[in-house]
Symmetry: C2
Subunit: 326 residues, 2 copies
DNA sequence: CGACCGGTGGATAACGTTGTCCACCGCGCA
DNA sequence: TGCGCGGTGGACAACGTTATCCACCGGTCG
């Protein structure tokens, strides 16, 4: 900045004013300084700026890991950020095998020097303010908290999936549930039970088993479910990964899909469209979730309180070929 | 830091020494200070630190966009970084529709205040040093440059794929090539031609068409290739996306795979395993590439020159079910 | 017994920016 | 003509950290 000032024949203070679009500088000086900045390719030091002004115009997205879910979300945030004037960095905090407290530590480190606010996409929840910066949580897995949140309507998704199967005439419907410690999984199961109850169909508890959210963890329970004496005609799996694995298990048991068994998943991951047969599933509007979270965070950065503090976006069904009418 | 110093009854200078593991602090003071730091949850301000010491211990990965390719690579870097003592941030630079120069601008902004070095995963290449920080390029698309680079052996991959098809007895082999402006695509085609020449099989130029790297761009050329009078018995597609679309086109033309047409792809994207039939393809060691790039960058950060300056990792074939012997 | 030396901790000056004053200059109005 | 005022630019002190000194203290060696 000193270089720019010298080259333009003004003081650093004036350059600072120009850079920050402050009032009190004549048009002639403004253009002169702007010209020099362009010539020299000057970029303000983020560190020094934040040190002084406590603002960096950068927001961070903290993810547990870079996988399809968080990546798609990131894309949503990335698309939406252009209009806000903020920059975006993504940050994966899990390190050194520490499993607890890393979110907080990661956030604190960047807060107050690199980022003005954060969107956290992690299972364990944090406070509404960490290191003095506002935080929005996406898909919080641990129930109601005081942090502003954005998530998909997992409950409604469970209802939609179940009602779809009921509408196709199925009555013996199994639910391969997700990780019981995660709120999203519990909500999907609640939706399932609610839809069954509303339709007056009793849930056979032997048909509700925990499958987790990974293919491997679902394999055993799926096999158990399908090799019993009185097997279901349809399965609502808590996510696509377990649904796809369930299809494979079914095939290995000689069951055809959807002729002998209907399966519906949750999440609409890219693979589900390519599975054999293509998987009918419930889609989460990941990009919209990312965009909404960003919007809330920007509101908070402007000093306002986002209303509502908890946004729940609708889930929709993607009908493919893994279910059939009974 | 002042708080910590007061609480521990020492000066800020001493706290700084403790934080940085500098010599000249007694064990007693060390532990005292460490204890207070833990109590207060103190985290050094990255901005201030870099302002003074020109080091942040953070390296950045600059990607054009968050898609499967860069995400997998990111995971490789992320896995490898634990042992280095550096932190990782990812950064997507494309903004506001600017298509040129954004890499440089993004890098300069973060350089010198946030990151100590960068791994760039972008098509257009940059200088070896930007804003004074070292840079490693991954999969540079524009041929030899003076930046240290890491990429997969696209040429050998082309050879392997073609020789595989030749070994299955195919002679009329088509190549659906990638974006001609990208070095990786040209190398894959070179590998194809070399393998054909070595086997003494002449390339029918009508069977070499540009398909690009996206499913949509490949559809037309694929259809043209397969509906001609003297259609090929095998297709080597420049990437999996175009290969999968080619399979769909083939099916729509009444061709069975692999009975009537063998297809091999490139990249081994997750979808390829789930395609119908599962796609035989050439895999790039994405995680290894990320890890190698990180290793080179760390070497450069230590002041050394990485040797060799260009690392080329081997591609391997993943044999699935989309090819058969003639 | 005195000087030196290793070991320890502190004072202090940067690093590059921004916000707050303050000074100056020319013009209009009393 | 003198005073005030708006418009412009600059001086200067922070922000939180680190590197470079420098001071002190106890012990040891000559």
């Amino acid at each position: 900045m000193a270089d720019v000032a010298r080259e333009a024949g003004v003081s650093v203070a004036t350059v600072s004013k120009v850079v920050n679009g402050r009032y009190g500088v004549s048009r002639a000086t403004l253009e002169k300084v702007l010209g020099v900045i362009a010539d020299l390719g000057y970029e303000a030091s983020l560190g020094a700026r934040s040190l002084r002004s406590l603002r960096t115009n950068v927001i961070g997205v903290l993810v547990a890991e870079f996988e399809p879910f968080s990546t798609e979300l990131l894309k949503g945030v990335s698309d939406a950020i252009d209009s806000t004037g903020y920059e975006l960095i993504a940050y994966s905090g899990r390190h050194h095998g520490e499993t607890v407290g890393w979110e907080r530590r990661s956030l604190v480190r960047l807060a107050g020097s690199v980022i003005d606010g954060a969107i956290v996409v992690t299972p364990t929840i944090v406070d509404a303010e960490i290191g003095g910066i506002p935080v929005v949580a996406v898909d919080p897995h641990t129930g109601p908290v005081d942090v502003p949140t954005v998530d998909a309507d997992n409950y409604a998704g469970g209802v939609i999936a179940t009602e779809y199967l009921l509408g196709l005439g199925h009555r013996r419907i199994a639910h391969l549930s997700g990780r019981p410690d995660l709120e999203s999984a519990r909500l999907r199961e609640r939706g399932f039970r609610e839809a069954m109850a509303r339709a007056g169909v009793e849930v056979d508890e032997r048909l509700v088993v925990v499958g987790g959210f990974r293919a491997e963890s679902a394999e055993g329970p799926a096999r158990e479910l399908l090799s019993g004496p009185d097997r279901p005609t349809a399965v609502f799996a808590a996510n696509d990964l377990s649904a796809i694995r369930t299809m494979e298990v079914a095939r290995s048991l000689g069951l055809r899909i959807p002729e002998d068994l209907s399966i519906i998943g949750f999440d609409n991951v890219p693979e589900s469209a390519l599975a054999t047969p293509p998987l009918t599933t419930i889609a989460q509007p990941l990009k919209a979730i990312g965009a909404a979270a960003l919007q809330m965070l920007v509101t908070m950065l402007d000093g306002a309180t986002p209303a509502p503090a908890h946004v729940r976006l609708p889930t929709t069904m993607v009908e493919r070929a893994s279910c059939r009418a009974l």
